[in-house]
Symmetry: C2
Amino acid sequence: MIFPEIISKINESSKIAIVSHIMPDGDSVGSSLALYNALKKAGKDVCFMLDDNIPKIYRFLKNSEEVQKPGKFESYDAVIALDCGDAERLGKAKLYKEGNFVINIDHHISNSGFGNINFVDSNASATGEIIYYLIKEMNIGLDTETAECLYTAIVTDTGKFQYSSTTAATHQIAGDLINNGVDIPLMFERIYQNNSKAKILLMKNALNSLEFYHNGSISCISITAEQMKDANAADEDSDGIINLARDIECVEVAVFLKELETGEIKVGLRSKKAFDVTAVAVQFGGGGHLHAAGCTIEGSISEAKEKVINAIIAEYSHIQ
Amino acid sequence: MIFPEIISKINESSKIAIVSHIMPDGDSVGSSLALYNALKKAGKDVCFMLDDNIPKIYRFLKNSEEVQKPGKFESYDAVIALDCGDAERLGKAKLYKEGNFVINIDHHISNSGFGNINFVDSNASATGEIIYYLIKEMNIGLDTETAECLYTAIVTDTGKFQYSSTTAATHQIAGDLINNGVDIPLMFERIYQNNSKAKILLMKNALNSLEFYHNGSISCISITAEQMKDANAADEDSDGIINLARDIECVEVAVFLKELETGEIKVGLRSKKAFDVTAVAVQFGGGGHLHAAGCTIEGSISEAKEKVINAIIAEYSHIQ
């Protein structure tokens, strides 16, 4: 038994709330709906509350339409918080942890341990991976729709099985979900073949701005506030566009400059191999990881570009 | 034992040639190098011959530099043909099947059975999956470099575990390869973060040409012969670009028009859901599958575009 305390608390509870973080992603939505569907099947009076709307691409998941906005404070036998590093990230749903018994299940190593029970497994590639084992251990039969929720959680949080968090266990679970009826091409169509037109327009604008520096080892793309407006783009429509600039041969550092409506420039940085982009981002008050970092700079796109490119070239000279 | 005949033939052979198909891909290169490395380790006098060069992105695989061009006919105790649907696809390497004992290992259902022993498993997602089991069954220890070859074969031939060929067994193998030391982020960097600059230029040109028809359900992109030349692009640099047009919400059919130097237009068609693009392609002498088809049309890009879009709209009216 991996989850004796959690399972015994769930078993003795009849009214249960599942909550997850603001700006929901595939893992928060997928793991929450998987547990929601499983607990419903087990006869529990369960509700799933999110502060934000479920992103459109995940609305094919079973019972996604049953998600509720956190309203006035209510009493539950247990509140289960999923994929949420700290209570603040629950948005208005954090209401439901006050005075309720909280089970905190997550895979972020930074989790603050805000629950009465805390199960944080940083070796799990996704919270969906933990919920898979929990459902198995509770002996709630895994139906295809619930398996789809778990597959969505895992495939999105591992970037299609590419991040370092992907383990043999991740693949073993994915295989078992296929055995439980998940239709892989259909899942990919729903999740990955549904870019917004706005995103495609932004990709076009970004590629039209592509420039190389430092013998082609630095690539730079940008999007203006006007282009965002003309494309009728939401903030999330520019997600991942920096990868176009990164995924080019010889490129070691990619820069993405996005002009905000405030006139500030949001800078995204990505790298391959040993180049530490955080060393650049911190110079402008930002931060991040070895291969992904960001910061915000005052000024025009061209001013920000000059500052950032110069800082990257200087960082190269430190390495050499 | 799945491979008794094959293993006994390999065991009694000392001089072995491995051959695979022209226009090599991740599976042909990966499965061939995996078997090459394993048989070397088992003490065999083994050579690996390919008619074409190994694509640059796969040259990080162990012993890829030891590949040879098929030269004059030689005698081998066994010739092992991998991932090759028929002998013609071996190019000049088919020389080595004449007068030699041929073991034909493949996962294409259409395989012509040209070997003395034929092992064709159409349930395998990649020939690399079959070679994984063969190496296991021969009790040749799987080192990390050989595991990388097998992982490359599988991740590329399944489109990152997305095609319908991806099974629980595929994931189980991927997990075992991770346990054998494969560094997943490094593999993705090498295979997927190395687009040529020419490909990025073509993507830019294609997105600049993007148009929608039939209430946005048909998308169309094109690349001119001049743009191919200006980008110094190889034919393979336009591979996959049609996905940009397909992976848009509401789009059901995507069209990619590529002007050839001969002045003809090569047409690629992709669809989602139930729309059968082959029904369109055959009208122009082409062919394909439900969701992927192609044909070649005489005339200008705009002439070809009109013909193809009209044919797609007519096909819609047949469906409704």
